[in-house]
């Protein structure tokens, strides 16, 4: 079925009873992230790359670029193509084969952040209008799924883009140059369980929650994308609460890791 992990009823009860006491299984506050680390330029063959860890979750994002044809409706803009692979080494519930709906959703939410924030100046990626533009492939490789892959993958994507060099020389198009990045979108995700909102859910917390809400915010503090996922309900007030905390958390993460 889906990649929701198997969790025993006993463990569910345990998490639930802790929640009632206002605690999380790893002792974090409800709005506290696990430790985040970002290593850039980990893959020499890629135009840009980043290995992101949030707690024990590990995501590797690689950027490849090549010249190609623009879309007919945007003849002077570069193209972004985002893919996510939930490779079976990352979780007992991932299976080989074409991406399932969870992988597709992950890729599309990562893509939404990069695209809607206009982080990449696509017009700067035009080589010959209508004929040739740069195509950016953002490939997300999940290495270890310990929860909150959306935030880790989104962080990996923007971190990798920030370290990307356009490989112009390799294609005889002049000298390599740094990919111009105009914004730093950050995705922050919370789950709702019994009216408790928990940010950066671990894999067991994800398994007990029905609903997850991702808010992607820009450096300006605006919201450029969001996605509710999971068969549950949210009250408008819960959504607004998540937004307010999400924008603050995103700011912290952006300032600490990506604005240097």
């Amino acid at each position: 079925m889906s990649v929701t992990s198997v969790i025993s009823e006993i463990k569910k009860d345990f998490i639930y009873n802790l929640l009632l006491k206002g605690e999380r299984i790893d002792g974090r506050a409800f709005d506290e992230y696990r430790e985040i680390s970002i290593q850039r330029d980990v893959i020499r063959k890629a135009e840009g790359s980043a290995l992101v860890k949030i707690g024990s979750s590990q995501v590797l994002v690689g950027i490849k670029m090549q010249p190609g044809e623009p879309f007919p409706d945007t003849p002077n803009k570069g193209v972004i193509i985002t893919n996510a692979e939930l490779v079976p080494l990352a979780s007992p519930s991932f299976e080989p084969g074409p991406p399932n709906e969870v992988g597709i959703e992950l890729a599309r939410v990562v893509d939404r952040g990069v695209r809607e924030s206009k982080a990449v100046d696509l017009e700067a990626l035009c080589i010959v209008p209508g004929k040739q533009v740069w195509i950016i492939f953002i490939d997300v490789h999940i290495l270890d799924d310990c929860g909150n892959l959306i935030d880790a993958a989104s962080l990996g994507a923007i971190a990798a883009l920030l370290s990307t060099k356009v490989p112009a020389a390799r294609f005889g198009l002049g000298e390599d140059y740094v990919l111009p990045i105009r914004d730093i979108p950050i995705a922050t995700t919370a789950i709702e369980f019994n009216d408790v909102l928990m940010f950066d859910p671990g894999v067991d917390e994800e398994a007990i929650a029905n609903t997850r809400l991702t808010i992607i915010s820009t450096a300006q503090g605006n919201i450029c994308g969001s996605q509710k996922s999971g068969a549950g309900m949210l009250k408008p007030e819960q959504i607004y609460r998540i937004i307010d905390i999400a924008c603050e958390k995103a700011k912290e993460i952006r300032e600490k890791f990506l604005e240097a």
Partner: protein, 253 residues
């Protein structure tokens, strides 16, 4: 192909939108219940230029069988666009967009379906978008919810769906194609009549306040749609109630 961008379009004329609507006005909606003979439940909906048909089959046996759940029915939702539903022919079959929409739409309906009544079975919802004009996912969910009710699937409540958008720095209800393509944001929601939100997506650029305003406006739109869904169901089933009852119907306690 004519290439346009935001600057080429003026979205408002004398305070009204391109199609003469106010900012907080829905496009015309038409809902018909029970339009397909073979399906257990069905619904045809028009929302502005969108024409969408929904069919529900089940609860029925699950194939392949390993998908069965011992304690509840599974719900499957297939959003599919006809190749001729859009300007440039869409390649038939599922693409990534339609798979994501299928997932979030299913998750928008599942919370109200009493799946625990039907262990080991499946409830299949099929959506065909015949004509697309921005807002096909919301039209699909609206049609699906009515088709589920028409199929007699026990539900805690109806689900109604509507989008809000932002064009020329104004929050508008139920964006049409031009507003969606060249606007600044799109925010579809689905909810129960009591205001529990079961679908929320957004792309574009909104401040926190605009986001809240868009959610509130979309909720008002969904409330209006709920009344229309309800009226369409009442219309079909009040007509049926006037016909003499069949004697072979077994009523269980």
């Amino acid at each position: 192909m004519i290439v346009m961008d935001e600057s080429d379009i003026s979205f408002f004329k004398d305070g009204l939108r391109l199609d003469g609507r106010r900012a907080d006005q829905l496009r015309p909606v038409k809902i018909e219940v029970g339009v397909l003979a073979r399906a257990d439940g069905s619904c045809y909906i028009e929302m502005g230029g969108n024409k969408v048909i929904a069919a529900v089959y089940g609860p029925r046996e699950v194939h392949p069988r390993h998908l069965q759940e011992a304690t509840r029915a599974i719900v499957r939702y297939r959003y599919n666009m006809a190749s001729f539903s859009v300007e440039d022919r869409k390649r038939p079959g599922p693409d990534r967009r339609s798979q994501e929409l299928s997932k979030v739409s299913r998750e928008a309906l599942e919370p109200v379906i009493l799946t625990n009544f039907f262990p080991r079975s499946v409830i299949d919802v099929f959506i065909e978008v015949l004509q697309a004009d921005a807002g096909t996912r919301t039209a699909g969910i609206n049609a699906a919810a009515v088709a589920l009710a028409d199929a007699g699937i026990p539900m805690k409540s109806m689900i109604s769906s509507c989008a809000a958008g932002k064009v020329a720095d104004t929050i508008v209800l139920d964006p049409m194609k031009e507003e969606d393509n060249f606007g600044q944001a799109d925010l579809p929601i689905a909810m129960t009549p009591s205001g529990d939100i079961t679908l929320l997506q957004m792309d574009g650029d909104l401040t926190r306040d605009e986001f809240k305003k868009a959610v509130e406006m979309a909720m008002l739109g969904a409330k209006n749609i709920y009344e229309l869904q309800r009226a369409a169901l009442v219309k079909k089933y009040s007509q049926m109630a006037e016909q003499p009852a069949r004697e072979d119907v077994i009523v269980r306690d």
